[in-house]
């Protein structure tokens, strides 16, 4: 066989294998990424599936039983679309608006794990897990805002007290 031909065949095989892996993995292990509104809209169809949701944490609702261990907390609907977040004045504003809006959709999360360090009021949580038949969301993994950057843009009580009126940056 010509040199070029074997190379092209090998490359095509690699590409085909990668496409196969991506497509099947997306079917098998990838998760729906939903807002709480969208999860509501799916109704019973969402029960038992692998789903990722994002929302704002309500600080008052956090309970923690270290002996089990188990954390429960409630998250509130925030829009997932970056454009929409931007229009509403940035993520900090969106999170703040969400937790103060009594009409926003809420979801109770049960996380049978050690309480994450960063689980706080108005934190953004990305939660991976399944919706239980009792309407609560059973989390396998909870991701909270990373403290390495941008922390100054989430107005928490500390920064307000120390800095005075927070400037947008």
């Amino acid at each position: 066989m010509q040199g070029k031909t074997t190379l092209i065949i090998a490359t095509l095989l690699v590409v085909a294998a990668v496409v196969y892996l991506i497509v099947t993995s997306t079917g098998n292990t990838a998760r729906y990424f939903l807002t709480i509104d969208e999860l509501r809209a799916m109704g019973d169809g969402a029960t038992g599936r692998n789903i990722t949701i994002s929302g704002a944490v309500l600080g008052d609702t956090i309970t923690y039983d270290p002996a089990v261990p188990r954390v429960t907390f409630t998250v509130v609907q925030v829009p997932a679309d970056p454009e929409e977040v931007e229009r509403a004045g940035g993520l900090a504003q969106v999170l703040h608006a969400a937790v103060t809006d009594p009409n926003a959709f809420r979801l109770e999360v049960v996380y049978a794990e050690v309480k994450p360090d960063l689980l706080q009021h108005e934190a953004q949580a990305i939660v991976r897990g399944q919706l239980g038949s009792d309407g609560r969301f059973y989390a396998d993994q909870v991701l909270l805002k990373c403290p390495s950057r941008y922390e100054e843009q989430i107005p928490d009580q500390t920064s307000r007290r120390v800095i005075g009126p927070a400037e947008g940056s």
Binding site: A10, V18, T29, R31, F33, V114, C146, Q157, S159
Partner: protein
Amino acid sequence: MLAEVGSILVGLAVATALYAGGAGFWAIHRSDSRWAKSGRNAATATVALLGVALTALLGAFLGDQFGIRYVAHHSSRDLPAHLKASAVWAGQEGSLLLWSFLQALFSALVVTRPSKRAHSPERAFHLVPWAGVVLNLLTAFFAAVTLLLSNPFARQVTIPPDGQGLNPLLRHPGMIFHPPAMYLGYVGLAVPFAFAIAALITRQVGDWPSVARRWTVVAWLFLGLGILLGARWAYDVLGWGGYWGWDPVENAGLMPWLTATALLHGIAMQEQRGGFRAWNIFLAALSFALVLFGTFTTRSGLILSVHAFVRSDLGPYFLAAIFLTLGASLALMISRRSVLVSPYPVQGLFSRDGMFVLTLVLLLSITASVFVGSLLPTLTQALSGRRFEADPAWFDRVTGPQFGALVLVMGVCPLLARMAGGLRRVRRRGLPALLGAVAAVAAAALAGFSRPVSLLGFALAGLAGGTALAEIGRVVARRGVGRGGRHSGRRYGGYLVHVGVILMAVGVIGTRGYPFETEVELSPGEPVDVGAYTLVYDELRQETAGDHLSTWAAISVYRDGDYLATLAPRMNRYPSFDQTFMVPALRTGLREDIYLVLFSSSVDRLVNVKVILNPLINFLWLGGLVFLAGGLLALWPSPARAVPEGVLRRQRWPVGTTVALAAGLLVLVVATVAMWQPGIGSLIGRAGRPLPGQPAPDFTLDLLDGSNLRLVDLRAQVVVLNFWTTWCPSCADELPELEALWSEYQAQGVFFVGIAVQEEKVEVREMGSEFGLTYPLGLDPEGRIATPYGITAVPETFVIDPQGQTAAVHVGPVDAAELRQDLDRLLGR
């Protein structure tokens, strides 16, 4: 004052960098060396300006200038000086300033040291000025972004009395060195990009790799170091027991490293034979575009990540820069396509050329997979209207086989002849590879790692390892160590890097294939078995440390009954951040690490601990160090330069190279220290208590009445040893109960001994008569008995059976009912 000076300096730097670019262009256009010299001076001035600006920011941090917002947000008065210094790059603004400075430094180094590195200086003559133009314009871009959009010197109206402090998670040696290493890598990749553009403009497509190779190796090495330090930081600090989570920000650093790896392989081939021209230009442009992409995505909201929450204003500018980078490169490539064709016909797959192509294809396919995974929510939204998200399992499943194929190619490629059709050589030279594979599988199976998929992985690693070691041996045998000819450092270095990558692969197979994690509840003194390990919780302590309150549990760890270490996982409470951070403690071993995380402690003296076993993880860190050493070796200067024949040239001692190598060694040492601390949270100077069932250490005790007592003499009796002191209230509390039990059990062959630790005879005698103690009391003035019993606090009580074996251990006050139970059990009731 500092703030204004800093802003002005950065502003001037934008101007000088623009001037340096413009002057360089004019010099080429007019062929005027005076303009070139002026441009070089401006480039040097840019470095000086940004260097002073960076120093000013450092000064602002050290001087607690909280009027500057960036300082107030990332520092506080009580922060140690070295952490204040590292806080300079703890946020976006300072990072960009550091980036600009490094970019200026690299630009100046490229333009002011032309041709010294090139094998043929006259050829590099036209490349360097053009590369200088590109690099200086990039410097101007980064400095302008820093000044206009993300100025670290911005003031705030109200000056707070103290800053917010540095985030506790960032106070780790890995985090001090990780960001600069990453930025050195990112900035370094601008250099091959600039040379690729210069090569396209000047049509000197054949010459640029020899000029840009060292820069590429340096950038690739620092990027690798940065990724490794980040992984180690995650392992030591984040307390989830892992080191890589396929987070989009991690991926953003990995992707340019993968394409830079491809570029290095392409450059090696082009230097040898002249092929891979289009590949190398493309890879250089792609690597730099991915650097910009990583910077862009984390600030754009395009990627849903915990790191990438906030859209900052930088996004659109970086997006424009990416399109400019890729667009200009592609347009130039098309217009210069005639010089990009390979000078010799394409070889088949089963040749070394073919395998290099396959290597590049695989590295690109992995990059593409990571790219798709990072953007999966956005992509699936656009394609199907539903958002899907890729979790770590997705990445493992998609990239795992590709990495496996890459390791296979790594093992097979050196066996093939350079030109096509060389399968015969495989038979001749394939023995080490085969032996390596068999040895690796056998070793893994014997060690208990016997799942089929992982055995396949070990076989591939063994195959590639056997080949790499055999190739190193072959080079040594042929040429001798140290005088290996023109590219010996590169050859050794390259294969050493392969060995490092293979070791890392072993670590990945162990940790990904055999994860173990459990949660246990521990009460003082009671052994709990976790696999082959036994954990004994000794005590809980609390102390204030600077701005936080630290609670830690001392936990003795035994493996197969042998004492290993006493670990102290902590919970640090930071009131000013309203956060508690769990600081893991770990004991390192070649087979596995045992990793403890304390996640709750309570007044009823129970603690909850997460226990994680990470099999083979030290192969990962060891492989990382071998990889870095190999990379440094690849930078080793060729001892015998190609000198024109008949010309005798006295070799001067290469000062610059020596300095660079010393710096490289320093980097390696720093990496070793930061990456490989064998026992984080290990308490030194502790010995374990004898576990139940183990022999009680023998001793000779001086009794109060002047006689001696030896433990061996008490065989055939049940012995109760009570370690106590006269000043400890809970010791005094239990004395009456001990005396009561002694008088009850004495006649049944039970012997009680009180051992006063580090006490005076007078006081012990006084206390004994005060409580009317009738059982023998002795003195252990130097703690010679307490030490082998692993006493950490008094009181502690040991029950020893008639055979001299430890039967029960009670840390802290002993409950009379429990002690009675122990005794009844041993007396057979």
